[in-house]
Amino acid sequence: MHFGFDDDQLAFRDAVRELLEKECPPAAVRAAWEAPPGGLDRTVWDRLTEMGVLATLVPEEADGLGLDERSLVLVLEEAGRAALPHPLVDTAAVAAPLLAGTPGGEGPGPAGVPDAHGIGMVATDLGGPYVPCAADADWLLLRDPATGALHLVDPATVVLRPVDTVDGARRAAAVDWQPAPESLVTDDPAAIELALDRGAFGAAAVLVGLAQRMLDMTVAYVCERRQFGVPVGSFQAVKHRLADALKELAFARPAVHRAAHSLATGAETRARDVAMAKAMASDAARFVGRQALQCHGAIGYTVEHDLHLYLKRTWALAAAWGDAAWHRERVARALGV
């Protein structure tokens, strides 16, 4: 029994953290709000690609890193901490292992698609009807509404209807498209189920990172902001809110780490564990966000302050890939109630 990470996993996380601190500061997230469809800056994405992050779950034989979700989970937490606008969950957690044909996946993908490690940027509607970064992606992984089968589609062949979402950096669009036999990746229900679980798990990990960021920002702010001659963080009402934020996050995180383990080991309880992770991470991140906003006061209620970048991503991801209630329903079924 060892419920922790090894030195390699931690070093991988640290390298990604360092990169994102440099290449994905709040200004980069703001830029993603502003850039026109198709115009998302790829500097940080290219660096992540070079580091092999996108191919974390791709086997070494296919030129991937040959790692599993236990390595990816920490990286996704970092993506959350940075509110990385690019579709890392869609690409690295869902599409790459699916196309690489790792256990459960059918792969390799349709003809004409590059190897999984060179897949580029993939965005998917598996997490919900609004595809993030749809106009920026190199490929779209889409679910045939009639059969549930997954197709890998060239964005040039579809019609995108951009939608206004609460988080502008989601850059989301609805997709009108026609499934064709050539684009079919898999219609194996087990592979589709696994892809959905990987996405929900990925979103849960990102939510943990977002929550950590909001908590850190708020702690720093309440230590600095003075009212009545003292830092507002010395008021007990503020302390208790943040203690509760810390608690909710501290107990959601191991649930997400366990989901990583269950995915990596193909555990029998995988579906239940992923559902628990997504439910707890969604609830915890939204809770932390509420406390963060309240403890910032009006400054947090502006678009000039950075808090909203993380808060709105939290709302978006809490609702995507199945919200907390939907995943609690899955856990209920696993418990037989």
Binding site: G233, K239, A243
Partner: protein, 387 residues
């Protein structure tokens, strides 16, 4: 990360499970069936539970994590967790020896001298000496440093004056461990000493009284110039140095909140019983809350596995244990509250859920109230400024 148990650990689990099954059945038989077992917080029930504690001791299950020399099994923290899971899974009774084994013993291991260890620990494991915790006083609850009970140096020992209260099972115990002011000139946290006190001294009066559930689980303990000889306990009655009582006592609160007081097994077992209750009396209105509570019990297990992994890697338990205490105590209330709602009109009947609910309600109060824990988490984990 590897969430599987070794063959040895699985064997340990199997051994514990088999022993518990056999011995619980035998213990129930001894008392004419489980329905005749009363609460361990009543005089009669305490005596019944003592026979259970002695069985545990004879099977060497009373304090699994202790060295064999003191009556334990040298079990690792992992094995301790496994034992606790099996213990509550089997529905074994609450440990009336708990305050000694889980709160005093870690302090004796850390601060006691060899003679104290050799005397106190085996007798504690064997339930020959029964220890209660004497910290709170009528005017010192959350503000523990405000205690006024005094221990005055006299020839060959100490003279004790003052009063302790809320002492769990004090009326049935033989000994008390607690904090006394040994330097009347020193203020607050200074000048306190940690003493080991037999309760049969002249000048000590113990009065038991009813808790919320009516059981005589509380006691107040009066010290009226009682003489506590230095040799009342081999190795001495002082645990740690004179005047160092605060530091010694804080070591106990760390283990209490952090790990040993309430293992995950306890809440997993309650959550499982709640799931079973739901299956018998489903109520769609409560389904999401049930799932949420079950997940929080499971999350507590996972959090603990993470903690033990860190401790096994050489880390020490820090102030983060404060959020742990808030988590399990609020979880326990929720689990029982949901059960009572499922029971509907039957909730008002006396029974295990109603009894458990009343006890769960004390969780946010004892072992440092949850408000105090939130202060600790905010100030010492998050680093928010003190006032």
């Amino acid at each position: 990360m590897d969430l599987t148990w070794t063959d040895e650990e699985e064997a340990f689990r199997a051994e514990a499970r088999a022993w518990l099954e056999e011995n619980l059945a035998a213990w129930y038989d001894e008392h004419g069936g489980p329905e005749n077992i009363r609460s361990g917080d009543t005089r009669e029930g305490f005596a019944q539970h003592l026979t259970w504690e002695r069985r545990l001791y004879e099977g060497r299950w009373a304090a699994v994590s202790w060295p064999a020399a003191y009556g334990g099994r040298d079990a690792s923290l992992w094995e301790w967790l496994i034992f606790e899971e099996e213990y509550y899974r089997a529905g074994a009774p609450p440990r009336i020896t708990q305050n000694g084994i889980f709160l005093l013993a870690p302090t004796v291991f850390e601060f006691g001298n060899e003679a104290q260890r050799a005397h106190v620990l085996p007798r504690m494991a064997a339930a020959e000496d029964l220890w209660c915790q004497g910290w709170s006083e009528p005017d010192a609850g959350s503000d523990l440093a405000g205690i006024t009970s005094r221990a005055t140096r006299v020839e060959g020992g100490w003279r004790l004056d003052g009063q302790k209260t809320w002492t769990t099972r004090g009326a049935f115990c033989t000994h008390l461990f607690g904090l006394f002011r040994t330097d009347p000139g020193a203020e607050r946290h200074r000048g306190l000493s940690y003493l080991l006190v037999p309760l049969d001294l002249d000048g000590v009066t113990v009065r038991g009284f009813g808790r919320l559930d009516g059981d005589e689980g509380f006691a107040e303990v009066f010290f009226d110039g009682a003489f506590l000889p230095d040799d009342a306990i081999p190795g001495g009655v002082l645990l740690g140095e004179e005047g160092e009582g605060w530091r010694v006592a804080m070591a106990t609160t760390g283990s209490e909140r952090g790990l040993t007081l309430r293992s995950p097994g306890r809440f997993l077992a309650t959550a499982q019983r709640l799931v079973e209750l739901y299956r018998e009396r489903p109520s769609p209105r409560l389904r999401e809350r049930l799932v949420d509570a079950w997940m929080r019990a499971e999350a507590y297990r996972l959090f603990t596995l993470e903690t033990v992994t860190r401790l096994a890697g050489g880390a020490v338990m820090g102030p983060e244990s404060s959020i742990n205490k808030i988590w399990w105590s609020e979880l326990d209330c929720d689990l029982h509250e949901i059960a009572l709602e499922l029971l509907g009109p039957d909730a008002e009947l006396e029974g295990p859920w109603s009894k458990g609910w009343q006890f769960a309600l004390s969780g946010p109060i004892y072992a440092g109230t949850n408000e105090i824990q939130r202060n600790i988490a905010a100030e010492r984990v998050l680093g928010l400024p003190r006032r």
